[in-house]
C-alpha cells in the first residue's frame, strides 16, 4: 500500500521572479487501488496540479510525499520509478511501431544502450495485453486511431511499472465508445493492479460513474475530495460550476441548461418517457410543477393533453403552445 500526499502544496507558474499561484495550501491524499477523477472548470489548475505531481513543474511552496520519501528531492530516474504519466501532447515518431512506443516505458530499467532484457519484453507485452493492444503491436504509431493511440500511451505508462499513473484528459478528442472504453479500462486497472490512477477530465457524468474518488477543483476555492455521490449530495458540484446559464442536475449527474421557464405544466406517467418529455418541455420554456392547470399524461406510446391523444413530441409541443396561446388570451 503506497500513499501519495501533498502538504500545504501551492501550485502555479513562476514568471520573471513573481509567482502566479493558482491553488494554495493543498493537502491531498492518493491511495493505492483507487481511480481518482480530477474535475474543475478551465483555469482551476487541473493540468498544473498534474504537472506538479509529475515532477515537470516545481511547486511554489509545500511538499509532495510518496510514502515517506520527499518526491521533489528524488533524482530524475527515481521520480521515473514512482510516477508515470500520459499527457495531452501528441507523439509522432516515424517508423516506430506500437511495441517500440510501449518499450519506452522500460527506460528507467534498461541499460545505457536501451537494450530490452527478457523481463523488459515480458513487462511490455503484459502492458499491451492490459490495454488489449497485443494483437496490434507491430502496427506503426501513425497508422493508429486516436483511441488506439491513447491505449498505447497508457500501456507505455503501465510498462513503466510505477505505483502512480497520472493522465491529463485521457478522453479528450475521443468518440463516445472510446471515452467509455478508456474510463472503464482505467477503473479496472486501478482495481486489479493496485495502482493509484489520477486523471483530469471534463467528462463529468463518466467520471462520476467510473471514479472511486473525485477531486473537485474550483477556481480559487481549493479542492474538495470525496466519493462522487457525497459531493452530489453536498451540492459541491453546483457551487463549483455556478452559472446563470446552466446548473448541475442532481437527478442525472449532467449539466442542464437554464432555460427561461415561463409556462407551468404537470406531467405524470411512464418514467423513462417522462424524463425525455421534461427535457423537451424545459427547452420549450415550461416548468414541471404539481397541480398546474395544464396536465400531460405520458402513456407507453402517447401523450394525453387536454383529453387529446398525441403521438409525437413535436405535435405535443405544438398543441401545448396552442393551448397556452388560448389561455393567455
Amino acid at each position: 500500500m503506497s500513499v501519495l500526499s501533498t502538504q500545504h502544496l501551492s501550485i502555479g507558474y513562476r514568471r520573471k521572479g513573481t509567482a502566479n499561484v493558482i491553488q494554495h495550501d493543498l493537502n491531498l491524499k492518493l491511495e493505492s487501488g483507487k481511480l481518482v477523477g480530477l474535475i474543475g472548470p478551465n483555469g482551476s489548475g487541473k493540468t498544473t496540479l498534474l504537472r506538479t505531481i509529475a515532477g515537470l513543474l516545481k511547486p511554489i511552496d509545500g511538499n509532495i510525499l510518496i510514502d515517506d520519501k520527499e518526491f521533489l528531492l528524488l533524482s530524475q530516474r527515481e521520480k521515473a520509478l514512482n510516477v508515470s504519466f500520459v499527457l495531452t501532447e501528441k507523439v509522432d515518431i516515424p517508423n516506430a511501431d506500437v511495441f517500440d512506443m510501449v518499450s519506452f516505458g522500460r527506460f528507467p530499467y534498461n541499460n545505457w544502450r536501451g537494450n530490452l532484457s527478457k523481463q523488459d519484453r515480458t513487462k511490455v507485452f503484459q502492458a499491451l495485453q492490459m490495454v488489449r493492444m497485443e494483437k496490434m503491436m507491430h502496427r506503426y504509431i501513425n497508422e493508429l486511431s486516436d483511441g488506439e493511440r491513447q491505449r498505447v500511451m497508457i500501456a507505455k505508462a503501465l510498462a513503466q511499472d510505477t505505483p502512480i499513473i497520472l493522465l491529463d484528459e485521457p478522453t479528450a478528442h475521443l468518440d463516445v465508445p472510446n471515452r467509455v472504453g478508456i474510463m472503464l479500462l482505467l477503473h479496472k486497472l486501478a482495481h486489479t493492479t493496485g495502482k493509484m490512477i489520477l486523471l483530469s477530465t471534463h467528462e463529468l457524468d463518466l467520471a462520476l460513474q467510473a471514479a472511486d474518488l473525485i477531486w473537485l477543483m474550483s477556481e480559487n476555492g481549493g479542492i474538495e475530495c470525496g466519493v462522487p455521490e457525497d459531493l452530489v449530495f453536498s451540492g459541491s458540484f453546483n457551487r463549483t460550476f455556478a452559472s446563470d446559464y446552466y446548473f448541475f442536475n442532481e437527478a442525472n449527474g449532467n449539466f442542464s441548461l437554464n432555460y427561461p421557464l415561463t409556462g407551468k405544466v404537470s406531467v405524470s406517467g411512464n418514467k423513462m418517457r417522462v424524463y425525455w418529455t421534461l427535457r423537451a418541455l424545459a427547452r420549450a420554456g415550461y416548468e414541471a410543477v404539481e397541480n398546474a392547470p395544464l396536465k400531460i399524461e405520458v402513456t407507453d406510446s402517447a401523450w394525453i393533453l387536454n383529453q387529446k391523444e398525441i403521438f409525437s413530441v413535436a405535435e405535443m409541443l405544438d398543441e401545448l403552445n396552442n393551448l397556452n396561446g388560448n389561455t393567455s388570451l
Binding site: 499527457l87 517508423n95 534498461n110 536501451g114
Partner: protein
C-alpha cells in the same frame, strides 16, 4: 528484422570501402588499382604514385569519411534535439558560427603580435566555440518560436549576421589573409594535411563518442521533453552534451574543410528511409556509413579532369532537393 539490418550494415561497409579505394584511384592522375594496393601495403612502387596517394589522396579520402560521418551525426542529433526534420549544422547557422570563428583567427591574426595562421589548434578551437555559440543561441530561440519554417529563417538570419561580421573583418584584413579565407569558404577536403588530421581525428572521435553515449537519451527525446523527463532522462545535461558534441563535430570539420552544405540534413533522412527506424542505436552508425559514402561520392564527382570543383557545390546539388522534398511532404 535484425538480420535485415546486419545485411544493410554489411552492404554499406562494403560500399564505403569500395568508394574509399575509388576515391584514391580517381583524380587528375589515374592510378591503377594494383599500384594503390601496393602503396597501401607499403610495398615499393612508383615514387610519384606513392607521393600522390600518401600525401594527397589518402588524407583527402580519410577527411571525406570523417566529414561525411561527423556532419551526418551532427545533423541527426540536431534533428532530434529540435524535433525538426530540417535541422542541420549548415542550415541553422552553426557552420556560419564556425566560419566567423575561423575568420577571426585567419584574418585577425594580422593584428596580433604572434602568428595564428597554420596553427591547427587555434583554428579548430575558434571554429568549435563559434559553432557551439550559435547553436546555443538558436536553441534559445527555438524555445520561443516552435514552427519549422520560422526556425529555418532564424538560422538563415544568423548565417547572414555571421557573413556580415566576416565582411567587416575582411575590410580590415590584408589581401593574403583574405585570399586564404576565401579559399577556405569554398570548402575543400584536400586542405586537410596529415598534421591537421592529427588534430581533427581525436576531436571527431570525442564528438561521435558522446553521440553514441547519448543514443538511448536521444531516443527518449523523440517523445518530446516532458515525456523524456518522465522516463528519467536528465534533460538539461543531455541538451548540453548534444550541443558539445555537435559543436565538436560540425565546428571541427568546418574549421578544416570549410562549410559543406546539406550533408547534415540529407543523410539522416536517407538513413531513416533505408533502415526504416527511428532508433538512434541503428541510425547513428547508419548515418556515419551513409554520410561517409555520400561525401566520397561528392569528392569523386568533383575530380573531373582538368578542373576541381568545390565539394560544397556538389553536396548542395544532392542536399537541397532533399529539403524541398521534406517541406513538400509535410504539407
Amino acid at each position: 528484422m535484425h538480420s535485415k539490418n546486419h545485411l544493410l550494415f554489411f552492404a554499406f561497409s562494403l560500399l564505403v570501402v569500395f568508394l574509399f579505394l575509388a576515391d584514391l584511384a580517381w583524380g587528375s592522375v589515374a592510378i591503377p588499382a594494383k599500384d594503390i594496393f601496393s602503396v597501401l601495403c607499403g610495398q615499393q612502387s612508383s615514387s610519384i604514385y606513392t607521393e600522390i596517394i600518401v600525401n594527397f589522396r589518402l588524407p583527402k579520402a580519410i577527411t571525406a569519411i570523417l566529414a561525411g560521418a561527423s556532419l551526418s551525426v551532427a545533423g541527426l542529433m540536431m534533428q532530434t534535439l529540435f524535433r525538426n526534420p530540417l535541422a542541420d549544422p549548415y542550415i541553422l547557422g552553426v557552420s556560419s558560427g564556425a566560419s566567423l570563428g575561423t575568420a577571426l583567427v585567419v584574418m585577425a591574426s594580422g593584428f596580433l603580435p604572434f602568428s595564428f595562421v597554420g596553427n591547427g589548434w587555434a583554428l579548430i578551437i575558434s571554429a568549435i566555440v563559434g559553432a557551439a555559440l550559435v547553436l546555443l543561441i538558436v536553441l534559445f530561440v527555438s524555445f520561443r518560436v516552435n514552427d519549422i519554417v520560422s526556425l529555418l529563417i532564424v538560422g538563415i538570419m544568423f548565417g547572414t549576421i555571421a557573413a556580415a561580421l566576416v565582411s567587416i573583418i575582411q575590410n580590415f584584413s590584408n589581401p593574403d589573409a583574405i585570399k586564404l579565407f576565401l579559399m577556405w569558404t569554398f570548402g575543400s577536403l584536400s586542405a586537410v594535411t596529415w598534421n591537421y588530421l592529427q588534430i581533427l581525428l581525436p576531436v571527431v572521435l570525442v564528438g561521435i563518442g558522446i553521440a553514441f553515449f547519448l543514443q538511448k537519451r536521444l531516443d527518449g527525446l523523440l517523445l518530446g521533453e516532458n515525456y523524456a523527463r518522465g522516463l528519467g532522462i536528465p534533460i538539461s545535461q543531455t541538451r548540453s552534451l548534444i550541443i558539445l558534441a555537435t559543436g565538436l563535430l560540425a565546428g571541427g570539420i568546418t574549421a578544416f574543410t570549410g562549410p559543406i552544405a546539406f550533408v547534415g540534413v540529407a543523410v539522416p533522412h536517407i538513413a531513416r528511409g533505408i533502415f526504416q527506424t527511428s532508433s538512434h542505436k541503428i541510425l547513428l552508425p547508419a548515418c556515419m556509413l551513409v554520410g561517409a559514402a555520400l561525401l566520397m561520392i561528392c569528392d569523386i564527382i568533383t575530380q573531373i579532369p582538368d578542373y576541381t570543383l568545390p565539394v560544397n557545390t556538389i553536396s548542395a546539388l544532392f542536399g537541397a532537393p532533399v529539403i524541398i522534398w521534406i517541406i513538400l511532404r509535410r504539407k
